[in-house]
Symmetry: C2
Subunit: 436 residues, 2 copies
């Protein structure tokens, strides 16, 4: 009989407590599945006194994450404290350097220090598993790291932030503004008091940087991700999208182009018929376009204590089973440098919403400016908000344009010219289109 | 440097040839990802003379699958011949008994002889990987076998047969009959000349039996699966489903009930808003309901040479990487026996379509019969086919009932009573409803 895998857990919040509970309740299944018993032998957390609904009898309390990481009694250090720096970083590094395996749910840390940690893991022979860091219980890390070993990836994209998808879903379904939906999300606990990290796209960018590395064999580099959030999206954009057969989602997209790997996070129009468009509320989804095969989409809970804990325990089981995949799929020294593909060279279709004065001469002028930049239009839609036409003939009228594939700088050059023409009021709204 | 993994491939049809091609074109990625080069050293197939668009120079031709399996030069035997028996069975068994690892895409063989083969793999230390057997490139085996180690599964269900889903999608979208769509599917190569294996649900049943074993730790047993095909589905059922907010899919469902694990394959009404309802055409999808976490759905190509080869190569990479998961997630001697849960005890909602004579006395009579069996109705819909009303007042009129959850035997007792009442003509159509 193999000796049990001895686990130390740093951080006993919702996720940590649920991991302790799962390891106990699933003990028999876990040992049958991994060929080895799994036992939590020591824990640490900020407050020992805090009431937790788990039984910690028989489990040692260690005074600091670093002490736990260095504790020779444990084989596997589980980091569930969060934060992109200390004390998690030093503790994980210490654990890896002593040959232990590490399981973490910490996307910020992996996005920022993943390479350094992966190097330590490779050198000392431990695993560094972080399935829970992206898409919680959705097995996207495993799928990219192991499941698609034989297939080149052309594109990986997804809905990686439940807060943003919740807000966009409610805006679409109830015609509410961004601000109203954000307030509701905060009230329901789906958004932080300071929501910027989520709604401005940075959370998605961290996750995307990790997925891109796994998919393309490049070094994780959050700084290579172009980021735009959802706060500028208006209910009229969602209504127009609906009419045109699209939905608006905050996507993280990493795609192989002739100019390198493009990584970007921004509100995106996706065809209503695509798998990704069906994903509503706090649910997450990732689509992987492999070379020569139809897309694979993984959908599920991207957050939540139970879903995150489920992924953490699966990672622990892999350690128990003896699986040692390279943390980023390939050895760190085989990962290629990532350079930031400039967004002005991005190519794709665009949704453009303008407030036009004095139709129809205006439309002709706009079309001329676009034509000069060789931008072809798939559709032009002129909207008359209810009652406005009658009320005030001279009010600006929304005009919505959908372009065929073109380059981003062409779009912006054309729109600058339109603005110089003084035929529109306010700033144009521009949303990129992603086809499946 | 570790020695390369030496692979022997039996079967060089579309999938086999694509595997040879992938291993060559992805050689660098494969070795970076698995820490070891992968090399095809020998092959065998029915005809050596057949033209194939792959380069077999430098690869040995062996005269039989068994000889290849026993060839001491190979580490990993890849079986891509198909068929639930010989010569695949003996060859795989021989390979495993000599300590080799085996990769196969053969669902029929795994459903029928999987336990025997898994035992041999466990005893001699080789891997037995079969990701491609269910859902081709969708990593559902890996997800159930490794990714959800820490989570109990309550239900696993999915669209596992692309032929059936293609037919149902076209019937729904174009209002065509089953027979017309089947003919088209055959013309397009989506259905076999003898389509029974697909459209009668047996292909789905084999795949479901495998998934159920992985999900619930029970022995694979195709005979424990209740099976019903799609040939009785009429366009009017799909129209009614649409109106009631459902779609009809051929699902394989394995669910933990108080009476044991229920395994069933049948046409199913699923809510239009569910992930599974969005899956159209030949695409496959599997949803896993884990204990305490929202469902995880995996969607992608369930068949096709490239998608199947992608999964086969990923399995080979796992062998190269040294991953040795138990073939059915747990040791064979820990798998529990599967008993067939009787369908008459199945509980759920039902869609019932009857051809009623002489309304409205009839509806009252039907409702009385249902009430006697304590079946509550969620809705009753009476349809007048276009023009029929005017043409012939005495023609039978379709009546559609949706029940709340009840038991299958209650439904059949009630419908038998209704038939004895002679208030309907023809046989009632009954379709089970699966809620998410």
């Amino acid at each position: 009989m193999v000796a049990p895998l001895k686990v130390g857990i740093a951080g006993l919040g919702t996720v940590g407590a649920e991991v302790v509970r799962l390891i106990e309740t699933q003990a028999r299944t876990l040992s049958a599945r991994s060929g080895r018993a799994v036992r939590v032998v020591a824990v640490t957390a900020r407050s020992k006194a805090k009431k937790r609904r788990i039984d910690l009898r028989g489990i040692d309390w260690v005074e600091s994450p670093l002490a736990l990481a260095n504790d020779p009694r444990i084989d596997c250090f589980v980091e569930l404290m969060g934060g992109s720096g200390e004390p998690a970083l030093s503790a994980i590094e210490a654990a890896l350097k002593s040959g232990k395996s590490v399981v973490t749910a910490n996307k910020a840390l992996i996005a920022k220090h993943g390479l350094r940690l992966a190097k330590a893991a490779e050198k000392h022979g431990g695993a560094l598993n972080y399935e829970a860091a992206v898409g919680a219980a959705i097995p996207v890390i495993k799928t990219l790291r192991e499941g698609l070993s034989g297939t080149g990836v052309n594109r990986v994209y997804g809905i990686l932030n439940g807060t943003c998808n919740y807000i966009l879903t409610r805006m679409e379904q109830e015609g509410l503004s961004f601000a109203e939906c954000l307030k509701d999300a905060q009230r329901l606990g789906y958004a932080e008091a300071n929501p910027s990290f989520d709604v401005d796209g940075h959370d998605t960018a961290q996750k995307l940087a990790i997925l891109a590395s796994l998919a393309f064999g490049t070094k994780v580099a959050q700084s290579a991700v172009y980021v735009e959030g959802i706060s500028s999206i208006a209910p009229e954009d969602l209504r127009a999208a609906e009419e045109l057969g699209y939905r608006v989602k905050l996507l993280g997209v990493a795609v192989r182009t002739s100019k390198g790997i493009e990584q970007r996070v921004h509100p995106t129009m996706v065809p209503k018929s695509s798998s990704i468009a069906q994903v509503m509320g706090v649910t997450n989804a990732v689509t992987i376009d492999g070379e020569g095969i139809p897309p694979i989409t993984l959908v599920g809970p991207g957050a939540g204590g139970a879903a995150t804990a489920s992924a953490v325990v699966a990672d622990i089981a892999d350690v128990a089973r003896g699986i040692r995949a390279k943390p980023f799929g390939r050895p760190v020294d085989r990962l290629r440098p990532t350079k930031k593909a400039p967004m002005e060279r991005h190519e794709g279709g665009y949704y453009i919403r303008l407030m036009a004065r004095d139709l129809p001469g205006t439309i002709a002028k706009i079309a001329t400016r676009l034509a000069k930049e060789k931008i072809s239009l798939e559709s032009v839609m002129q909207r008359h908000p209810d009652g406005m036409e009658a009320a005030n003939k001279t009010s600006p009228v929304p005009v919505i344009l959908i372009t065929y594939a073109t380059s981003e700088d062409a779009v912006y050059r054309a729109l600058e010219a339109v603005q110089r023409d003084k035929v529109i009021s306010g700033r144009p709204q521009v949303i990129r289109i992603e086809k499946n």
